[in-house]
């Protein structure tokens, strides 16, 4: 009979363990393709799409936004987020649990309430405010199975590559294993860059 377990057997077991740990890990990393960052695992389809200032200005200009509003949008780095819950349980989006940072530290995100203040200071019409709000990613959302959510997050511009670490609670009562999506080397696009 000889030896029952050869080195090959041990190697197979080791590889199986590594694969198993990988498959059950809740931390997932994105693949980058032409300034798009996409992830698909057993929980979510998730994508980040940085936009150029011109791209966003054209979008809002086309919808009749006043110049003072367009100028305000140009001071920000827009990233469109698209996400779908492909699991069988609830996934909880909460932007306060997202950490965005580069080598110099945390990068500020402008919240929905902060935008509202900006629009009120600039006398932007309610219609434009409503449109802008609907283009933002919700601050919080319980995502049902198969539910999509999408919208922009707006950041303080940085020249450095940065990381987004997004933490999501899972489960009906938010007590499931947290899902963490970490994406490195994201860039704020400048005019002339290839936008997705």
């Amino acid at each position: 009979m000889g030896k029952i377990f050869t080195l090959q057997h041990y190697l197979i077991v080791l590889i199986a363990c590594i694969v198993s740990v990988y498959l059950h890990s809740s931390i997932v990393y994105a693949a980058k393709d032409e300034n798009r960052y996409k992830i698909e695992n057993q929980f979510v389809k998730f994508g980040l799409y940085p936009r150029t200032p011109e791209q966003m200005a054209a979008f809002y200009e086309g919808r009749g936004f006043p110049r003072q509003a367009i100028e305000a949008t140009k001071q920000h780095c827009f990233i469109t987020v698209g996400m779908r819950n492909i699991s069988k349980t609830k996934i909880w989006l909460d932007l306060s649990r997202w950490r965005i940072y580069d080598k110099q530290g945390d990068i500020a995100r402008t919240s929905r309430d902060q935008w509202k203040q900006k629009w009120q200071q600039r006398n932007v019409s309610l219609a434009s405010q409503a449109t802008f709000n609907w283009t933002l990613l919700p601050e919080t959302r319980d995502l049902h199975p198969d539910e999509p959510v999408g919208g922009n997050i707006t950041l303080q511009p940085t020249d450095h590559p940065f990381t987004i670490e997004a933490v999501f609670a899972t489960g009906e009562d938010q007590k499931g294993k947290p899902l963490v999506i970490k994406i490195d080397n994201i860039r704020c696009l400048k005019n002339g860059d290839t936008a997705p």
Partner: protein, 175 residues
């Protein structure tokens, strides 16, 4: 005893609650709401005709919020038109609400993509806000008593049999 049991089953199934129980399985992406009163909805359409949701009392109402800039809304709208055609003779009101756009934006889009549809104009977006949709597009089903019964999560192909059958079952269950 057997006759009593049959009578009991008949009574349950013929009651409104029993008819709801007998509904078809909910299709993908439709979730049940808490049955609270539907928010106020009174708006003009592009021709200036006023609609108030209270005038649909006694019928199911499909309330659909949309905007032309929204990609999923653009993909979904032709299916809303086909669904409307399929339900033309059914006792359900299909109500579209455009969120915070201008007449030109609406004409340019609907005129090409779904010319048979008309929409209410929520010009400042405040009615949409009051309904608290989970995003755009958003579709609510309001029951004949004026209560929020279901919401669709995101866009979908409304003219597919699973959705048409669901809507027909709702109508039949409540009439």
């Amino acid at each position: 005893m057997k006759r009593l049991l049959h009578s009991l089953v008949f009574l349950i199934l013929s009651s409104p609650a029993g008819l709801v129980l007998a509904e078809v399985k909910m299709p993908d992406g439709i979730i049940k709401l808490d049955g609270s009163n539907a928010p106020v909805l009174q708006l003009d359409d592009v021709d200036g005709n006023t609609y108030n949701i209270s005038q649909s009392r006694g019928k199911w109402v499909f309330v659909h919020f949309w905007a032309a800039w929204c990609g999923p809304c653009r993909r979904e709208m032709p299916t809303v038109q086909r669904m409307t055609e399929q339900l033309a003779d059914s006792p359900i009101d299909i109500v579209l609400v455009n969120t915070a756009e201008t007449d030109d934006e609406v004409f340019n889009f609907l005129g090409v993509v779904a010319p048979e549809l008309s929409t209410l104009m929520d010009r400042d977006g405040l009615v949409t806000e009051r309904w608290q949709p989970r995003g755009l597009p958003a579709s609510f089903f309001v029951n004949p008593e004026g209560k929020l019964e279901y919401i669709a999560l995101g866009g979908r192909e409304w003219d597919k049999p699973q959705y048409l059958n669901f809507i027909k079952a709702l109508i039949n269950a409540k009439n």
